[in-house]
């Protein structure tokens, strides 16, 4: 029976959340305007109203999760994003696979942030919460699912399958419930996809906090006081957003077969740019706190970072990227709504800033070249230009849409080689940033003039040059651009380490956030340079195959074809493909797929053979996601097995075929990254024509290309899966087939019953052969075998070496630690001022 209650509740809660957000905005507005006597009651009312909003928002999330958790496939969302076989932690991923779920996640984070702000602020509550409530109204409207005439507002996740599709089955039986859903995209079945989206959306959500404080400051004419409460949140936001981006990059690295962690895809660019601007904003805000300059710049940057997050949402969720991105997006018809959301806040922010502009204090004093303000300003400008360089080409599809909406024709497309295009600019920006962070830190901590600067920088500079020279020589960095990057990166690491050690000596760890973050930056830059710039594909095809076209011979084939058991030389390694494996519950290692036979139940199999101490023949075992195949690839050096990798592939009909995830061998100084790009399909083999071989017991002969030993035949008393009757004669021929270093037993059976012949052939899927004992010729002492061939098992594989990628990950972690230290320090400052009653 269809359960409509939970969906109706979810939908009702959406409406309650929408209305209560508007009421909250209105109530806080009244509270803001109210006289001292009325303030208390308006405050109480506003808060209650926000609590109602918070409660209903949490109920929305609960309802949707209930639908997924209890496999209510009568709902479109559960049907299209989950399935019975999905474990609980991936149900969480199902929750935000759809855009509606992602919006709910965003709403949820805003609610949490709003509750924290209400309870940590005194004077800022009203103006900040007005902005919050309005943002919530826009977000909730995205999942409202209300239709007024031709106008559709929002896309509700609570619609029933029968309303979402017009499948004929619902005309016959409106209460039809599918037994299973179409499942979660296997690429999202990864632990990083459980935690990456919430992190990223918390990053998105938290950019609202500094923006809300700024709007509050502009309205209440406290043009500079907003910085103090906003700063810890801006740093928090940059940290979380940065962490979200890095998790996404790491996820792409371990699950997608892009061959890397960053692809300059529009989706990645769209979050990278607001992060850059936010980081620039943090720097100008800190400068303002120190020396009362750069306030206007801070205001512009804070507004820009918030609007860019909305722009990123617009680009990625309106379907406008269409042909430009490898990520497939669907247009839920929200583009208009998203655009209004973006324009509304952009206009409000511009209006309030323009109105306040001439009252905003700015310093007339020209910043000296030896002042930290000057260098911070240059740094912020560099970050801004960096963002500009990325967002401009990323917006080409939006530009086309704009031109076309005015009736024009624009056939501009994003650059063909995105990696090359973005790298040639970002590399230099990275170098400039590294140099600025090295020099800037010295300006930050002490007064500088020409001589002091020279003294302070000389030692770190010499150390950095020596280290870089070593790195360049030892790691063979012979590209001049990369050499400069190594020097710049090392310089910032050394210079900031000097500052860090001074701070630690004074036990001022609280102040060390900046130098830690900059050390992280230096390491990341060097790590990115090595792992991307010197990434080397070692799976170059040397098959010696000549092609029909001469031009084709000139192209590098970056994949190799591995036939099962056949060794292949690949750079320093010899690799051998050993067959498919499955992951079995409770067993650490993978189990060969050929000894498991699927049963009718999902994720269950029967063992055909004993396997080590884990299970016995005939045992039932549980497979972890039966669609997943793990291809065992052995790597040898000097004939010694060094390690073996098991890249995963899943043949998923519903998701459109083969989905691959890489497996990497991780060394301290490099990763060896391997993935499967194509594989053999051995469902429904088309057997080739019959071939007949005659052999006597004890004889050695060739079946196809394989050396085969006929060890003899045996009269059987019983046969598995077949009941022998009185008078039956069953003969089993024992063949051993050699395939390189592997010996296979193939034992076809021949049965005679009442002068009738029955044949039980043996199939070996890995070799792609079927052997039938066709006849026995007693007078010649010979056996006749019929052999049919199909396709020997194979994989097409790519292997890439990524040197020093660990530097990138370690640098990222250090940068995050730096951010955390800075948040602690700035929040502490805010708290002290607030408790003194000053804020």
């Amino acid at each position: 029976m269809i359960n409509t209650f939970i969906g109706n509740m979810g939908h009702l809660m959406t409406i309650v959340a929408f209305v209560s957000s508007l009421v909250t905005a209105f109530a806080y507005f009244k509270y803001f305007q109210a006289t001292e006597i009325e303030k208390a009651s308006w405050q109480r009312f506003s808060r209650i109203s926000f609590y109602v909003h918070a409660g209903s928002s949490i109920m929305i999330a609960f309802s949707l999760f209930e639908i997924i958790y209890n496999h209510r496939f009568e709902y479109f969302y559960a049907y299209s994003h989950s399935s019975m076989a999905l474990p609980v932690h991936y149900m969480i991923s199902s929750f935000w696979e759809g855009q509606e779920g992602a919006f709910i996640l965003w709403i949820f984070w805003n609610v949490i942030l709003g509750l924290i702000l209400i309870h940590t602020n005194k004077v800022w509550e009203a103006p900040v919460m007005i902005v919050f409530a309005l943002v919530q109204a826009f977000l909730v409207s995205m999942i409202l699912g209300v239709v007024i005439g031709d106008l559709k507002i929002g896309s509700s996740p609570f619609i029933l399958l029968r309303d979402a599709t017009n499948a004929p089955i619902f005309q016959m039986n409106p209460d039809f419930i599918p037994e299973d859903g179409t499942g979660l995209n296997p690429l999202l079945q990864n632990i990083w996809m459980v935690i990456h989206p919430p992190t990223l959306f918390l990053g998105y959500a938290s950019t609202l906090v500094p923006f809300a404080f700024l709007m509050g400051g502009l309205v209440t004419k406290r043009y500079s006081e907003w910085i103090r409460p906003a700063l810890p949140w801006a740093i928090f936001s940059a940290m979380i957003l940065g962490m979200g981006i890095l998790m996404g990059a790491y996820w792409a690295y371990v699950t997608l077969n892009f061959g890397g962690y960053w692809n300059w895809d529009p989706v990645e660019n769209a979050v990278y740019v607001p992060w850059l601007i936010l980081v620039a904003a943090i720097h100008t805000m800190i400068t303002f706190k120190k020396s009362a300059t750069a306030l206007k710049t801070s205001i512009v940057l804070v507004i820009l970072s918030f609007i860019l997050v909305l722009y990123a949402t617009f680009l990625t969720r309106s379907g406008i990227l269409g042909d430009a991105s490898v990520h497939s997006f669907t247009d839920l018809g929200l583009s208009g709504q998203l655009f209004i959301y973006l324009i509304f806040f952009a206009l409000v922010a511009i209006f309030l800033s323009v109105r306040a502009w001439k009252y905003i204090p700015s310093s007339e004093r020209e910043a000296s070249v030896y002042s930290r303000e000057f260098w911070i300003f240059i740094g912020a400008t560099t970050l801004g230009l960096m963002g500009f360089q990325v967002i401009l080409p990323t917006s080409i599809p939006a530009w086309n849409a704009l031109v076309e909406s005015f009736g024009g024709i624009s056939n501009m497309a994003p650059p063909a080689d995105q990696v090359e295009f973005y790298t040639k600019f970002q590399l230099w920006f990275g170098i400039v940033l590294a140099l600025l962070t090295a020099v800037g830190q010295f300006f930050w901590w002490q007064k500088m003039d020409k001589k002091a600067l020279k003294d302070a920088l000389l030692t770190p500079y010499i150390i950095a040059v020596i280290i870089s020279a070593l790195v360049i020589v030892l790691a063979k960095v012979y590209d001049w651009k990369y050499m400069i990057l190594v020097v710049a990166g090392t310089f910032t690491i050394v210079a900031n380490a000097v500052i860090l050690s001074r701070l630690l000596k004074k036990s001022a760890f609280k102040l060390a956030g900046g130098s830690l973050a900059h050390i992280g930056l230096g390491m990341m830059l060097v790590g990115i340079m090595f792992s991307s710039g010197y990434s080397e594909t070692i799976s170059i095809n040397m098959s010696g195959l000549t092609y029909s076209n001469s031009w084709e011979d000139e192209l590098n084939k970056e994949h190799v074809l591995l036939w099962i058991n056949k060794p292949l030389q690949m750079k320093d390694y010899t690799v051998i493909y050993r067959g498919r494996q499955k992951k079995v519950e409770g067993i650490q290692e993978y189990v060969p797929a050929k000894i498991l036979e699927a049963t009718d139940k999902v994720n269950e199999a029967i063992a055909l053979e004993d396997y080590k101490d884990y299970f016995k023949k005939g045992d039932k075992v549980n497979i972890v996601l039966e669609e997943n195949d793990y291809f065992q690839i052995e790597y040898y050096q000097n004939e010694v097995l060094k390690f073996s990798l098991s890249p995963m592939s899943q043949f998923n009909e519903g998701m459109g075929g083969l989905i691959s995830s890489p497996d990497s061998k991780i060394y301290l100084d490099k990763d060896l990254y391997t993935y499967v790009a194509a594989m053999n399909d051995y469902e429904d083999p088309e057997w080739k024509e019959d071939q007949f071989y005659e052999a006597a017991p004890g004889e050695q002969f060739h079946i196809a290309d394989y050396v085969t030993y006929f060890d003899g035949a045996e009269v059987m008393q019983e046969i598995e899966g077949y009941t022998l009757q009185e008078g039956d004669v069953a003969v089993k021929a024992k063949l051993r087939i050699l395939d390189y270093d592997v010996e296979k037993k193939i034992e076809p059976t021949f049965i005679i019953r009442n002068n009738q012949v029955g044949k039980l052939p043996e199939i070996d899927n890995e070799l792609g052969i079927k052997v039938t004992l066709e006849n026995i010729l007693p007078e010649e002492n010979k056996f006749v075998f019929k052999v049919n061939q199909y396709q020997k098992d194979y994989v097409v594989m790519k292997a890439i070496v990524k040197p020093y990628i660990n530097l990138l990950w370690i640098g990222s972690l250090i940068m995050l630690v730096g951010f955390t230290v800075a948040i602690y320090r700035r929040f502490d400052e805010f708290k002290k001022m607030r408790d003194k009653g000053l804020e």
Binding site: Y79, D323, L385, M412, Y547, H559, A678, Y794
Partner: protein, 138 residues
């Protein structure tokens, strides 16, 4: 000398360089006919062509030719003007390739017979647009 204007000019200069290279390096959407004209004019720049895979009367994809070592293949793409063109791609066949609704090839002509794709983007039938519910459980 005041630094303010100097820095301002510097920023504007960098911004202009960025804008010019973005326009200069931007690719374009073409048809096979215009792409070939570009090639004949000596323009080797990689461009985008949007099209569909060639299908026979029963709706099966035809013209797919996988090389023996399975690491590259050619296929026939029909652009939006209906021009058919054989395209070579130096990668194994992407998994959902034959199911894709439309294919974007990014690359250029090698000679009149063959277009070489450096990159392929596929638009796959979206789950959202699927109007059939599989007969699961029927």
């Amino acid at each position: 000398m005041k630094k303010g204007p100097l820095i301002g000019i510097g920023i504007i200069a960098v911004a202009i360089v960025i804008i010019m290279t973005s326009i200069g390096d931007a690719s374009s959407y073409e048809t096979f006919d215009t792409a070939w004209e570009m090639k004949e004019d000596g323009n080797d720049k990689a461009i985008h062509v949007v099209g569909q895979l060639k299908k026979d009367t029963s709706g099966e994809v035809t013209g797919l030719n996988v090389r023996d070592d399975k690491t590259s293949f050619t296929f026939v793409l029909v652009d939006n003007d209906g021009t058919e063109q054989e395209v070579f791609y130096n990668e194994p066949v992407p998994a959902d390739f034959t199911r894709s609704e439309s294919v974007v090839v990014i690359g250029s002509y090698k000679n009149e017979e063959i277009f070489i794709a450096d990159k392929i983007l596929m638009k796959c039938p979206s789950k959202y647009q699927e109007t059939e519910v599989q007969a699961a459980g029927m």
